[in-house]
């Protein structure tokens, strides 16, 4: 490879008549080295010899032209002129360097972000053959896609589909948001724990630090830890054989550590903190026994297909296969490539938070736009400068400079500016990297920054070509006769090009402002929208273990006694949590499935509806006097009533039926509550019910407290908790904060857009400022003559400003429709969103008009107040 390259190089520069025999010498010399050294080293020696052969007496006469002293003197002159120009016009240099720096830094971080977003699940061996089994179906008339499938499906497809090489299943503890791992006196809470089949590590290729990859998950109650977690608990000790206690909503259970896997630097859509053997604990045993192949879609199943399998066709066969074993196979299944899950998954119940490929496209476009704006600024200012440089070009041409020499010169100058910008950018990147890391949670190491020098150089090279090409071709094409004959060096064409470029900048500016305004408005809409329940001054206290849940009554009474506590009630899901349980209900015991309504079900305790302050619109809610009937009573929301096609009054006291294994079971609807947002505003309000089953399913209590002196109330709650359950730490969080967390991704997106809007706006303004100064410089004579003829400062100012406003006008006409369309698409991601009105079109334009007028006014007033005698004296 190296040798081939060196040979090509040699052949290129060597004199034709010398080539053959010197090449022969090189070959003999190579063979001599080859006898003693490796091929790689010999290749390097070969390259060294070729480089040493690059001498005037060996190279082709044609090349002498480039390396002759004449040429290098010329290059030196170009360089010197470039430096002198940059020094003379400090403001111009600063503006250009600053603009390009901002562009390059933006591109760098966006590239970094995108690279890490694309790196998910790329580390698995045979990753291109790994797929997840997805479930597709229809629910209440809407299509859905689930990341999970029934537990028994793995066995079926493995035995009946020969193209599946192997398969593994994992499951997260359902509804558990937190696991507490205890060892000795250390306790760590982890959200991402899974149960997995023994062959998990055969498919998911994590390096194993301790333990045996093949057998780690064979035994029940065995546990493997990620390196991150193991380091926190044990610090550099081999923990295999030690016992860790895991506490979560399913209770407390001991696990023996059988291995540690290395998760550092590996990103996966799962990102597991720990993995326990499937057949562990109550829940694991339940999963282990469960062999259903329809319904019960709660398990993630992964398959490795034989190479050459058509995954799409293969996945489609699953439904037919299920239909051979059960009567009704409602849901279809398919294989989703594991490498696509993080960015492309549209599933409702992903194991982790996914990325979104749309955001990546948006970021790429923004990065390119910003760099493009910087380049436009550069090109604009360089051409605007033409009048100053025209004489120099004229003289060069007179002395025989050819067009391509002038192009080289100006491209070289843009390269110098770009290199300056690169140096500044590298410094900036080091400064910004920590903020970037804390914002995105993605690391930029100084090592990576250095590794990226190549990327930066590439960006720089492309930038300088992009930015420098137009001005250099323009300047080199100036007619000698025009330049030295004293005529205007501008043709109408250049004005149009420059105006187009400025309009483009305004278009980008307005688009970004429309975007950031819409996002900000939508986010404040979310925060101020009434959710249908009281969310502030509500504490959520997780009940952590079965021991606590069994004493729910005691907890309630102890908490209620505290002054400052208004109400206490237990619930299985807080309004910020996704409700996992659901059931089909029908108005008649023998109704068809197609007429049934799928209703999400929250098992609650007395007083929850009152504690949350949800409005009761018909009937009543659960009451302690009802005693025996409670078990069979339900409270629906209005969406559920609408789905049945009844009015609130009609459904109260009616019975609805749910299909169970032993036939339809009747439930009595005792009341209807108004619709409230049990999920984030991304999702519509779905049919929802409260059932009265506090014994097992309640997982936390919601404590409604007084807004004033809440700190005292919280410490009182903690004291009571500690006296009741001395071994469990008191945990709580505020409901409104948990609700806010649902929009974290949206908020981050908003912040990113705001940031880049600001950057782009600053760049636009810099460009406009630079351009105005040159335009003003050139029209000083015109202004002077106007003034002599009696124009006022106001006249002149408005005539100059009008030219810019015209450009803004054109830009608005182009950008507003695009902006509104794009942002409407974004708003569609929310089931509840603002409408874009006329304000969202006018305000961005006004912002652009005022900010650019402010910037150019300084220059325009300077021009308008110019003294005509000074300018016109020389004419």
């Amino acid at each position: 490879m190296i040798k081939r390259f060196a040979d090509i190089l040699f052949k290129w520069y060597c004199r034709k008549d010398y080539y053959l025999d010197i090449r022969g010498d090189l070959e003999e010399n190579y063979l001599k080295h080859r006898k003693k050294h490796s091929k790689w080293l010999s290749d390097l020696f070969f390259l060294k010899e070729v480089l040493f052969l690059f001498r005037p007496s060996i190279i082709q006469p044609g090349l002498h032209f480039f390396f002759s002293t004449n040429q290098s003197a010329m290059l030196k002159s170009y360089f010197k002129i470039a430096i002198r120009n940059l020094q003379r016009q400090k403001a111009y240099t600063a503006v250009n360097v600053l603009g390009l720096t901002v562009g390059i830094v933006s591109i760098f971080f966006i590239q970094n972000f995108i690279e890490s977003e694309l790196s998910y699940d790329k580390h698995h061996k045979d990753g291109d053959r790994l797929y997840r089994v997805a479930t597709y179906g229809t629910q209440n008339g809407e299509d859905f896609e689930m990341a999970t499938c029934p537990p028994g499906l793995k066995g079926r497809i493995l035995s009946e589909m020969p193209e599946i090489e192997t398969s593994t299943r994992i499951v997260n503890y359902l509804g558990v948001s937190k696991n507490i791992l205890r060892y000795d006196d250390k306790a760590i809470s982890e959200t991402k724990g899974y149960l997995a089949d023994p062959n998990f590590f055969d498919l998911f290729d994590y390096p194993i630090i301790y333990g045996n990859r093949q057998t780690m998950l064979d035994q029940p109650q065995s546990l493997t830890l990620s390196k991150t977690l193991a380091d926190k608990l044990f610090k550099d000790v081999d923990p295999v054989g030690l016992t860790v206690t895991i506490v979560n909503d399913y209770g407390k259970s001991d696990y023996a550590i059988t291995g540690v896997y290395d998760n550092e630097g590996i990103s996966s859509h799962l990102n597991p903190a720990f993995i326990a053997a499937m057949n562990s604990g109550e829940f694991g045993k339940y999963v282990h026994r469960n062999d259903q192949i329809v319904g019960n879609n709660f398990l993630f199943t992964y398959v490795k297909l034989l190479s050459g399998t058509d995954a799409e066709a293969s996945g489609k066969k699953i439904q037919g296969l299920i239909a051979q074993h059960v009567e009704k196979a409602d849901n279809a299944h398919g294989f989703v490539p594991i490498e696509d899950i993080y960015l492309y998954s549209g599933s409702q119940n992903e194991a982790g938070i996914g990325g979104d490929v749309r955001y990546i496209y948006i970021l790429i476009s923004i990065a390119l736009l910003i760099l493009f704006i910087a380049c436009i600024n550069f090109a604009n200012m360089a051409t605007a400068q033409a009048s100053k440089r025209a004489k120099e070009i004229g003289v060069r041409k007179t002395f025989g400079a050819q067009k391509r020499m002038i192009i080289t010169q100006f491209l070289g100058e843009s390269l110098v500016i770009t290199l300056l910008a690169l140096v500044v950018s590298t410094g900036m990147i080091f400064l910004i990297a920590p903020y970037y890391s804390s914002f995105t949670g993605k690391e930029v190491l100084s090592v990576t920054i250095l590794e990226k020098v190549g990327v930066l150089l590439m960006i720089g090279l492309i930038t300088s070509l992009l930015a420098g090409s137009y001005p250099s071709f323009y300047l080199s094409s100036l007619k000698l006769r025009n330049i030295l004959g004293g005529q205007s060096s501008h043709s109408a064409g250049t004005f149009i090009v420059r105006k187009v470029l400025v309009v483009f900048q305004f278009v980008v500016g307005i688009l970004l402002i429309v975007g950031s305004m819409t996002i900000a408005n939508q986010l404040s809409f979310i925060q101020s929208k009434s959710l249908g329940f009281k969310s502030d001054d509500q504490l959520v206290v997780p009940l952590q273990s079965e021991e606590v849940i069994s004493q729910l009554k005691k907890v309630k009474t102890t908490f209620s006694d505290i002054p400052g506590v208004q109400r206490v009630a237990g619930t299985s899901y807080t309004p910020a949590q996704f409700v996992l349980s659901d059931n089909f209900y029908n108005l008649s015991p023998t109704g068809e499935r197609s007429e049934s309504v799928l209703i999400r079900q929250n098992d609650v305790d007395f007083g929850l509806i009152e504690t949350l302050g949800i409005e009761v619109v018909a009937g009543r809610v659960f009451d302690e006097d009802m005693a025996g009937e409670l078990e069979k009573s339900l409270v629906l929301n209005e969406a559920a009533v609408r789905a049945f096609g009844l009015t609130n009054e009609e459904i109260v006291n009616r019975e609805i039926y749910t299909e169970q294994r032993y036939g339809a079971i009747p439930y009595k609807v005792i009341g209807v509550v108004s619709d409230f947002h049990s999920e984030s505003l991304h999702r519509p309000i779905e049919p929802y019910l409260f059932a009265m089953r506090p014994q097992n399913n309640v997982k936390s209590v919601i404590v409604s407290i007084d807004g004033q002196g809440y700190q005292n109330t919280i410490s009182a709650l903690e004291d009571r908790w500690d006296s009741l359950f001395p071994t469990l730490p008191f945990e709580f969080y505020f409901l409104d904060q948990q609700l806010k967390a649902q929009y974290e991704a949206d908020q981050k997106f908003g912040q990113i857009i705001n940031l880049f809007t600001a950057v782009a706006l600053v760049l636009c303004l810099i460009g406009i400022f630079g351009l105005t100064s040159f335009t003003v410089q050139q029209s000083l004579k015109e202004i002077s003559i106007r003034k002599v003829l009696g124009a006022s400062i106001g006249n002149i100012y408005s005539s100059l400003a009008f030219k810019f406003l015209l450009l803004v006008g054109i830009a608005s006409i182009i950008s507003i429709p695009i902006g509104i369309t794009v942002m409407n698409r974004w708003l569609d991601l929310f089931a509840f969103h603002i409408e874009l009105g006329i304000a969202s079109a006018i305000i961005p334009v006004l912002i652009i008009v005022f900010s650019s007028l402010t910037v150019i006014s300084y220059k325009l007033f300077f021009a308008a107040r110019v003294n005509p005698t000074v300018i016109l004296r020389g004419e």
């Binding site: 010197i22 090449r23 022969g24 070959e27 040493f52 052969l53 690059f54 007496s57």
Partner: protein, 112 residues
């Protein structure tokens, strides 16, 4: 005499070409110098010296046969010309002159 001026490396190359007589080609000269003088010679330095001296008329060259270890590429054999011999001779005489002019007191100096 400026006319016959030779650089140190040029002189060595020229001498080696003379020593090798009929067998003086690029790689052979390189090997000879390396083994006799125990210094490494880059092909670039050697070739540029050879071509320079060919231009000055100290050397002539003639294409020879190719060989397998050269990938069939022909060798270019160099031979020293009369002019080249004169240059060497001249150089040697200049040196000898200088040697002979060293006073006896100085030439007696030795390491011990």
């Amino acid at each position: 005499m400026k006319k016959f001026q030779l650089g140190e490396f040029e002189e060595i190359v020229l001498l080696t070409v003379a020593v090798l007589d009929q067998e003086a080609y690029g790689f052979g000269i390189k090997e000879e110098i390396e083994s006799r003088l125990e210094r490494s010679v880059s092909i670039g330095a050697l070739q540029s010296a050879l071509r320079r001296m060919e231009n000055k008329g100290y050397l002539t060259s003639q294409k020879g046969e190719g060989s397998t270890e050269r990938g069939g590429r022909p060798k270019l054999f160099f031979r020293i010309t009369a002019h080249g011999m004169r240059a060497l001779d001249h150089n040697r005489n200049v040196r000898l002159d200088l040697w002979n002019s060293i006073p006896a007191s100085v030439s007696k100096l030795s390491y011990d």
